[in-house]
Subunit: 201 residues, 4 copies
Amino acid sequence: MAADDPANGRALRPRGQRTRQRLLEAGAAVFAERGYHTARVDDVVRAASTSHGTFYLYFANKEELFRALADEVATAMTALADEFPDLAGPGADDRLRAWITRFAELTDRSGAVLRVWADPVAAEAESGPVGAGPTATVTDRIAARIATVAPDLDAHVAAIAVLAMIERTVSLTTGPDPAAPDRAVVVDTLARTVRFGVLGG
Amino acid sequence: MAADDPANGRALRPRGQRTRQRLLEAGAAVFAERGYHTARVDDVVRAASTSHGTFYLYFANKEELFRALADEVATAMTALADEFPDLAGPGADDRLRAWITRFAELTDRSGAVLRVWADPVAAEAESGPVGAGPTATVTDRIAARIATVAPDLDAHVAAIAVLAMIERTVSLTTGPDPAAPDRAVVVDTLARTVRFGVLGG
Amino acid sequence: MAADDPANGRALRPRGQRTRQRLLEAGAAVFAERGYHTARVDDVVRAASTSHGTFYLYFANKEELFRALADEVATAMTALADEFPDLAGPGADDRLRAWITRFAELTDRSGAVLRVWADPVAAEAESGPVGAGPTATVTDRIAARIATVAPDLDAHVAAIAVLAMIERTVSLTTGPDPAAPDRAVVVDTLARTVRFGVLGG
Amino acid sequence: MAADDPANGRALRPRGQRTRQRLLEAGAAVFAERGYHTARVDDVVRAASTSHGTFYLYFANKEELFRALADEVATAMTALADEFPDLAGPGADDRLRAWITRFAELTDRSGAVLRVWADPVAAEAESGPVGAGPTATVTDRIAARIATVAPDLDAHVAAIAVLAMIERTVSLTTGPDPAAPDRAVVVDTLARTVRFGVLGG
DNA sequence: AATGAATGAGTGTTCATTCAT
DNA sequence: CATGAATGAACACTCATTCAT
């Protein structure tokens, strides 16, 4: 009812919690399928099998829903970044493959949000649905790791490059495309490229 | 009602040529600034200082304008791909740096189009404003080069990875951001990463 | 579904009485602050610190709440009208000033309701939230007084004029406006104008 | 079209001029009939037999249309105020009757706008659709006239009272009501009341 | 070849009212 | 008695596209 703080705390009862959750999931699905702009609130509402009114009971507007989703991803992302493995030493390749696999899984789930989020243009509008902040955090942490093993590189740029490569490659090689390469091959290739690319010859 | 195929040949007189050109340039600028969805025909028209009526004299619709721009980029892109250098042998690094620089320049001019074009979601709608075709072409040619020097890699995936890394890194490190790293540093870092990443240890 | 006639008697227990009262007061405040149309049931409910459900336990709808408030005012108004003083004879001015002062006090408390109530447009919708009835009663009684002292006037029109002048002037000169004239001055001016205006030269 | 300055100059061609005019007239009618809040843009558009799109070609929004109308009224009102007659001397009554008649005619045409405009609540929202400014101007000019003939009165308050009486009485005694008093009687009564009310005994 | 004007389907959002607990 | 949750009909506004000159 025009509550002033739809998304905020507001101590939801169990039923409310469930509804909100349903909306979040529906939102993720719809954004994934149609992209931010093309997604209609109506799609989300329908996917969550609720009404328009209910939607605005939980989120101030479409953007707010996106932001909520993005926050979730940002958290997962940052956590993952903290575990970016050491690229040198024995077992480095295994560690890296494991990390990329987890990254890919996160992408699978939240790809759409990530993509919109990474879209510089969308991000511009009033610092964007979300703002580039979180990406920066992730990059920073990876840069720190890179700095320890490849002091000759500009760690920041390298981190961006590594992340960009992983993210885009994973998302480009995913999908219903029958010719899509095997996930294992993708992970292997990426791991190898990242490792040698960063460590050098 | 005007001609049935506004965009096509239709043998434009000099004046018409100029108007069409103005619209293309305006379109590139506006798409760059606002992204495909957020860009209004009105913006384009205003930037080209013409009228709506005129716009539809030259392009059947917004998508058609985009397609025209994308075609230009696709052509340039394919040409560039053909010149992707040999990664082995003496001078490889210089060659690669030169190539990346040219790629970055192309990105500078046509970044927006590239970005939208690469957006899987935008691309989905009726096989997308343009369809992934051209990207595929580019990837194929680079894959061919990679195959010759790194037979142990899945050349296709590697090509995607390399291109993804270059494109995104360049576009992420470009812009009015005062903290943006130097272009030369970016090119150096990318060249090194690509070369070692592909060639291995 | 609750009782069929929420607003009516329904013999409320003490607690219910208090809740209903709280809603009435909240309603008065909110209508005053925002006007009939702009006032949301949510505002009222929030001001009364209850829930939507509860609101509809006591009033069938927003209009019913308004009607209840208007009825209160109408009663007070009619009573006041009965005491409209004789405009002739000694002490007339004092009597009139006293009456206007009481009128102003009533306005202070119920100004918003009065205003909405007097709004011909609001009043139109299905004979309005309330209908012009009560105003008519008040006018009639004042007209009777005027008829006795100024037989040459159209008492009905004069009554409307007098009431209109008093009501609007009071409400226009009230408020947080720092430049608002002193209430005493307003009352004096009105009393004089009414008396001479009605009695003539 | 999203023209940046719909209402503004923009040098309308004859056709545009006509459309804009039609919208203004439709707006006046609809506001009169339904009041500001209850009036839907759709009503206006329908009354002007145009489309929604066209409406927003000429006015940024509903409020802007109202503002345009209010500006017209304000101008007429201020002009009329300048001609508020001398209340003393021979022929005063005739002059006053003539003035009130003209005022009533203005009210007939623009009553709705005036009413909304005068509504303190509507006026509050961001200084209201229009703001009380113009009313103040009118009051000031009338106050000046009153000051010359009744130095003992608070001219400002008296001016408000006079204007309030005239405006409300006229609008209350107008309308399809079959029992509505004759306009001539209303004007006579008002003229007499104003004159004696201001001049005193 | 060009342009200003017109269109209307589509979309986000609000809010009075009803339901379930 | 009371409440949080749900509903959906309205409504304002946008923008790609077409028309008339």
